[in-house]
Subunit: 247 residues, 2 copies
DNA sequence: AGTGCGCCCTGACGTGGCGTGAGGGTCAAG
DNA sequence: CTTGACCCTCACGCCACGTCAGGGCGCACT
């Protein structure tokens, strides 16, 4: 194959192939007339280059990777699979952050600076990526929530927010009225809370609800949110949810 | 927040923030001493910039997007979600190609040039991406197959290939022997074919098997593969699979 | 035999998104 | 009042190409 054909097949410019030839990244054979000629081996190498480049490596890094004599083609493919998986996970993290930003925006809350760090603060994109996402991103609840809320309009969000605020205020009222978290009233409100989540985000079983309530205590963002509504509310909600799940 | 803090929080260099200031992409307030000062609004805009940049937009394109007065922040977030979904889908396509390359390599076959085009041939990565993947990438079968085969060794692949070749040859023999596709023998071979897929790739129900067989006719890569084994085999396999699914 | 027409070649300069100093002010701590 | 960690503004460098400029193949059509 000559340059034009390869460029068309791979979606590249001819100039790019010239460049890669010039820097020794992808050097084709040359016919008598000086034309570049790409054989099967070059096409396979091209595919490798495309994949590594897609992953954000510089040309000389790609060259170093491919010219490493200790690594054979199959090892490259496996490494590429890993890197792709990492990169996909990272993008899913970013998507999760954007998703949270949508929620925050819809509810009139601004994201904290440290939320930036959470996703964008990693310097080596090939390494760490899938941590927080690994905990939640693959769960059905996360997917369901994502699927459902992605179609929400601004008005939907306002309604959801109002409903949640209502439940929270009534929980705060119960707290300030001195009703124990194990009281029927508090348990009933916890159940309302669970059903609101089930309607608006994802099917939330009592067990998941308990796990969520525990996060209200362990994740300071949630804690801060509830504490802002009323002091001690995070703990109170947690206890009420647990009581409701048991009863 | 001043530049250093923002840079650290976002994982950027100070120079980058200087640059973004210079080109008007992200312009902070300036204190009396000339220091840059980033407020909440700038941090939110920074997050938008980071996301759009992650998606491969040029700085002026990002600027144009963010400065478009017709689009509010929420619409941006939604667009970013879509673009992220596309980009993720595209990377999954690349991953699928790499996966196929692993198979091909393990079985000693070289990929055809047009396979490059399949994934790498799109010029606008933000647009089309999720088409083929949208059809298959999200299915449980695809995920299951990916999960299962990713742990296959070279020997596993050779065995899988040998088994499939065996079934194909016996199907070809049945065809050349003049047995109709609706004959018990052909149906039994189709069933073997289905079970081989279920063992080696993903749980393949008779319905899925029929859909797969239809692809043997509609996707020329599959057609070519079967036609190379024996002329008319693609159609024959399709018919036998359909007969077996009905019976 | 000429003559388009499309593809190929090799320079060579331009560009976007920064990296990397040079040279110098600011500010809190010691 | 110095020291060191920040901050500022030029200004040049670099990488991975884009984009002409100037010219050679190869084949069809006249």
């Amino acid at each position: 194959m000559n340059v034009g054909e390869v460029a068309a097949a791979a979606g590249l410019s001819v100039r790019t192939l010239h460049h890669w030839d010039a820097v020794g990244l992808l050097v084709p054979h040359k016919a008598a007339n000086g034309y570049r000629d790409y054989g099967p081996a070059e096409l396979e190498r091209l595919r490798q280059v495309l994949t590594y480049r897609e992953l954000g490596f510089g040309l000389d890094q790609v060259k170093a990777l491919l010219d490493d004599p200790d690594v054979d083609a199959l090892a490259h493919l496996r490494r590429q699979q890993e890197l792709l998986a990492d990169r996909i996970a990272r993008l899913q993290d970013v998507a999760a952050l954007v998703h949270r930003a949508v929620e925050a925006k819809s509810m009139g809350i601004d994201l904290e600076p440290h939320e930036l760090r959470e996703v964008f603060g990693e310097q080596d994109p090939t390494q760490h990526a899938a941590e927080a996402h690994g905990r939640w991103g693959q769960t059905d609840a996360w997917k369901q929530s994502h699927a459902r809320t992605s179609s929400y309009s601004k008005q939907d969000w306002l309604r959801v927010q109002a409903e949640m605020a209502d439940v929270q205020e009534r929980l705060a009222a119960a707290l300030s009225a001195g009703l124990p978290a194990s009281s029927p009233e508090a348990q009933s409100l916890a159940e309302e809370h669970r059903q609101h989540i089930s309607r608006s985000y994802y099917d939330c079983s009592p067990e998941m609800h308990v796990a969520l309530a525990q996060m209200y205590l362990s994740d300071e963002r949630f804690t801060a949110h509830y504490e802002r509504v009323a002091p001690g509310l995070a703990q109170y909600v947690h206890d009420a949810v647990q009581a409701a799940a048991r009863g």
